[in-house]
């Protein structure tokens, strides 16, 4: 395109303009993943009793709002509740005319107004009934959101069905000024585009230049004879490579390896800068000096990547292995052979003449392409060994190679239950010893779940929602489970902290405040976006928010 034809410019499409501010985060690939996703919201499991209408579902609706706006493909709301007065005081996606109508239908209608590209459905049957009648129902969805507290049995059957199908689940609760949610990911959840801090992904290979880079460094052997202008514009990467060679000449061929040597090397570079100019120094040398400690490190594999290389999924490939593992396996082979990962190929900006920078950048880009080609060849070989025809796309291999140093695999954990596994119980015990921990809020919510289940099953009267002695005895049962493997019972201070948190929950009798539910809906949507786009790193696995102190914490439970 040239300026003679300004009208030939086809600007961004209306969709690109609408989504511009988010495409700058997760790009077209993330957007596509969102648009291919349908989200299920189980927003209540029927009323808790005659007086209490049950969970308000505000967290669920607010979460959906934050997913409909960026353009998920569609959503389904399952909610047998009928709209009541208290709903109108807490739920923005209902209006006065909604009173007495189906909450699923009304919230669905008003949410759909937010984005004409998103499809929305509602269902007024309880989820347990739907699961029985339509076995295919869950599998149409890429993510399940559950607004708690709901009946224990419903929660368990949903979570276990989702686990079998490999569908992630987010279980949320929000009462008064507190909220908590947990994410149940599939057994293995790999992430390639983790979006680490760009600084931490810089990989210049200064201590082990490949031949083309070494040749480029050798091309400035006449450094001393360059005029001031040229001398002040040699890219710092080449300067460091050049001075490393000089250093090796006087250090038995070794590069500076510890802090002391690096400091000496830095002084050596500093003393080589020209200072007899108006600026009294050279910017490219300043950049080189600043990079010494950060960039002169031998390549090392992050322990998380090493762990992934050692996972069984990587070493025991089968014809059913996911593409991710085939690429991991190929990259592992690459690493075994070269002791480095494929080069990401990005060169930071640095003081240099345009042409010199571009040619240095090309050396990095070319090497990155070569590494990708090598990995691709291995992938194809593995595929044919497994009897597959090229199912891994070139694009996936390229994205993987560029992000290889920071890939992650999360091992999905179940939605925590009051009687969890020994590991979680131990973690709870340790946390209970810390008076700053938010775990007491989490345990208060676990009591609430038990109380609500009791009411729904007719075991407790509705007044149980604010029955201090009942909550206290349920707490003791939970604490009994937590302490069952331990030598000593949970101490009184910890018990009191949980009772205090429980008192705050009882204050609104299990009802939520719009603000806190809206905030929680923001946090939950954030996790949903990360799960659906497979970008950034989701929660593992429980988050607790305290709206009194405005703080939060994450726990693996």
């Amino acid at each position: 395109m040239t300026s003679e034809f300004p009208h030939a410019l086809t600007g961004p499409s209306s969709k690109e303009r609408r989504y511009d501010r988010q495409l700058r985060l997760w790009a077209a690939s993330g957007q596509q993943a969102l648009e291919e996703s349908r989200v299920l919201l189980v927003n209540s499991d029927g009323p808790w009793g005659n007086q209490s209408t049950g969970v308000s579902g505000v967290v669920g609706v607010e979460t959906l709002k934050n997913l409909v706006l960026p353009g998920i493909g569609g959503f389904t709301i399952v909610d047998p509740a009928v709209v009541t007065e208290p709903d109108l005081g807490a739920n923005f996606f209902l209006e006065d005319e909604s009173l007495g109508k189906s909450r699923a239908e009304e919230t669905c209608r008003l949410l759909k107004e937010l984005n004409p590209d998103v499809e929305g459905n509602s269902c007024t049957k309880p989820i347990a009934e739907i699961l029985q009648e339509e076995p295919e129902f869950l599998s149409q969805h890429k993510l399940i959101l559950i607004s708690g507290p709901i009946k224990r049995s419903s929660l368990q059957s949903l979570c276990s069905a989702a686990k079998t199908l490999g569908i992630p689940v987010l279980y949320t609760r929000s009462v008064g000024f507190f909220s908590t949610f947990s994410l149940q990911l599939p057994a293995v959840f790999p992430i390639v585009e983790t979006h680490p801090d760009p600084e931490s992904t810089q990989d210049l290979r200064l201590l082990g230049p490949w031949p083309e880079l070494a040749v480029a460094a050798a091309s400035i052997s006449n450094l001393d004879s360059l005029d001031d202008h040229q001398h002040g514009h040699v890219p710092y990467v080449l300067l460091l490579l050049y001075y490393l060679e000089k250093w090796k000449e006087t250090h038995n061929g070794n590069v500076p390896s510890n802090y002391k040597e690096k400091s000496e090397f830095r002084e050596f570079v500093r003393s080589s800068a020209r200072t007899d100019n108006p600026q009294g120094g050279e910017e490219n040398y300043d950049e080189a000096i600043a990079a010494v400690l950060k960039s002169l490190n031998p390549f090392s594999l992050r322990s998380s990547t090493r762990d992934i290389f050692e996972m069984e999924e990587c070493s025991q490939l089968t014809p059913n292995s996911a593409n991710f593992w085939i690429i991991v396996s190929a990259v592992r082979e690459f690493h075994q052979q070269h002791q480095v990962l494929p080069l990401p190929g990005l060169l930071p900006d640095m003081k240099a003449q345009s042409a010199d920078y571009v040619s240095l950048q090309n050396i990095y880009k070319t090497k990155a392409r070569k590494d990708i080609a090598e990995v691709t060849e291995t992938v194809r070989r593995i595929e044919s060994q497994l009897g597959q025809s090229a199912s891994v796309s070139d694009k996936d291999i390229e994205v993987f190679c560029k992000n290889a140093s920071h890939i992650q695999v999360i091992r999905g954990r179940d939605i925590p239950q009051p009687d969890g596994d020994a590991q979680s119980l131990k973690r709870l015990r340790i946390e209970l010893g810390n008076d700053e921990s938010l775990i007491s809020i989490f345990l208060a919510f676990q009591i609430l779940d038990i109380v609500v289940t009791g009411i729904q099953e007719g075991k407790y009267p509705e007044g149980a929602l604010d029955d201090e002695s009942l909550w206290s005895s349920e707490l003791d049962r939970i604490l009994g489970v937590i302490a069952s493997d331990a030598s000593a019972p949970v101490d009184d201070e910890a018990r009191n902290r949980i009772l205090e948190a429980a008192r705050e929950l009882r204050r609104t009798e299990g009802g939520d405040l719009h603000n806190i539910s809206s905030l929680t809906g923001g946090l939950v949507a954030q996790e949903a976006l990360k799960v659906l786009t497979r970008q950034y790193v989701p929660l593992d696995n429980t988050c607790i928010f305290n709206g009194i102190r405005s703080n939060s914490a994450m726990y693996k439970l």
């Binding site: 410019l9 511009d20 208290p86 009798e509 009802g511 809206s518 946090l523 976006l529």
Partner: protein
């Protein structure tokens, strides 16, 4: 169920003490009444503002005002949920106010389409709390210094808590400022990283990155070739010209990667924004507003950072007040003077003030340079004021700011005429 049940759960929280409520707090009717009477101002009706308005309306606030000067753009629709495609081009404050008023019955929302600087202290004095959802540091600094300047030690009502939110991508922050009592936005200015800038000479002569080519087209080529058109970043033809010009320059230097999206990003300094982060930060600010307005629970002291790229991370801490803060470091002191003394005599009076024996002060009001000792040209221009009477230079009740090289902080005096 009765209509009175609408605010059932909110009112429970306001009618019953919690374990963390202040023991002196009196829950019940009076608290609810005071919440309903709390007039609250929302600055900004964008990504944060839309959420804040919704949250306040559903938190029992009944009298909400909102200021925003902008109109609705298509790129707002991915998060500003009170706006529809058919609203593009309309003023944000009006559309947002009307939507929330319609949806939440019984709330009154008064929009003002304009700049915060259009309003004076009388306007800001009517509110109990100010909540900010802004994307500009300049506007934040302005409202901050205005609210700090309004504090009158004799009148507790003059202290307007400022609750500020901000987001960028998956990150954000919320903070509570009690003007003159706690760390203010000016004290915390170094938490806003300056926009990274590339040397002008790099742009002019040795571009290396696609962004350098875009900056060149925007800042240098435009000035050279289209001097007479004032650049408008919302004009597609202008952006298109910059894009094409940047592409040509990139080709000339073999630089790849100039895209239309990048051109817009560089020229408009676009910050990524999503609905979910706005929801988190807006709700964080509004729950502070609810707690401050009702005392139902302690409020944030005073800063919360949130980052969502890796799990859910928050960090809550107390930012410190700076003693040498140019805004809240020294509040205006009242000084009673005879309006018939000359400026020269007034300067002598300042020299005798026990708290600040000002020897070589320069002085000004917002409108007038009263006397500036240096540079000489300005001294020459202002020295005639020295012989004038205060009444001819300053109005009764007006603020005079004084700098003196002997002090590292500046002073503000409010002149009360006898």
């Amino acid at each position: 169920m009765a209509a009175g049940d609408r605010w059932k759960y909110l009112y429970k929280a306001l009618s019953k003490s919690g374990p963390f409520s202040d023991p002196d707090w009196v829950p019940g009717e009076e608290t609810i009444k005071s919440l309903e009477e709390s007039k609250i101002l929302v600055i900004g009706a964008g990504g944060l503002g839309c959420e804040i308005l919704k949250n306040l309306a559903l938190s029992g606030f009944k009298d909400i005002h909102v200021i925003d000067m902008d109109t609705i753009d298509i790129s707002n629709l991915n998060r500003q949920f009170l706006f529809r495609h058919s609203d593009i081009g309309k003023p944000k404050a009006e559309v947002a106010a009307a939507f929330v008023e319609k949806r939440v019955k019984g709330v009154k929302i008064t929009p003002f389409v304009g700049k915060i600087q259009d309003k004076d202290e009388d306007y800001y004095l009517q509110f109990k709390i100010v909540v900010c959802g802004l994307d500009s540091i300049e506007a934040r600094r302005w409202i901050n210094s205005t609210l700090v300047g309004m504090v009158d030690m004799d009148n507790p009502e003059s202290l307007k808590p400022l609750i500020d939110g901000g987001t960028e991508g998956f990150k954000g922050q919320a903070r509570v400022i009690l003007p003159s009592l706690t760390s203010c936005i000016e004290c915390q200015l170094d938490m806003h990283a300056p926009r990274p800038a590339v040397p002008l000479c790099t742009i002019a002569t040795i571009p290396r990155q696609p962004q350098h080519c875009i900056e060149w087209a925007h800042q240098i080529a435009w000035q050279d070739k289209r001097k007479d058109d004032s650049f408008d970043s919302d004009d597609m033809e202008h952006i298109g010209w910059v894009y094409n010009t940047a592409l040509e320059r990139a080709n000339e230097f073999n630089i790849s990667g100039v895209t239309f999206q990048m051109t817009q990003g560089v020229v408009k300094n676009i910050i990524p924004a999503i609905a979910s982060t706005n929801a988190v930060i807006a709700a964080a600010t509004t729950s502070e507003a609810l707690k401050i307005a009702t005392s139902c629970n302690p409020f944030l002291e005073n800063y919360m950072m949130y980052a969502g790229e890796e799990g859910v991370y928050t960090y809550t801490f107390e930012a410190e007040k700076k003693t040498d803060c140019p805004v809240c470091g020294s509040l205006a002191r009242k000084i009673t003077v005879n309006p018939d003394v000359t400026l020269e005599e007034f300067i002598e009076i300042l020299g005798e003030q026990p708290e600040a024996q000002l020897k070589k002060p320069s002085l000004r009001t917002e409108e007038t340079t009263l006397y500036q000792r240096f540079p000489p040209q300005l001294e020459e221009q202002t020295k005639s004021n020295l012989k004038l009477k205060l009444r001819d230079l300053v109005a009764d009740g007006q603020e005079v700011a004084v700098s003196d090289p002997a002090y590292t902080i500046d002073f503000r005096f409010q002149l009360i005429f006898t």
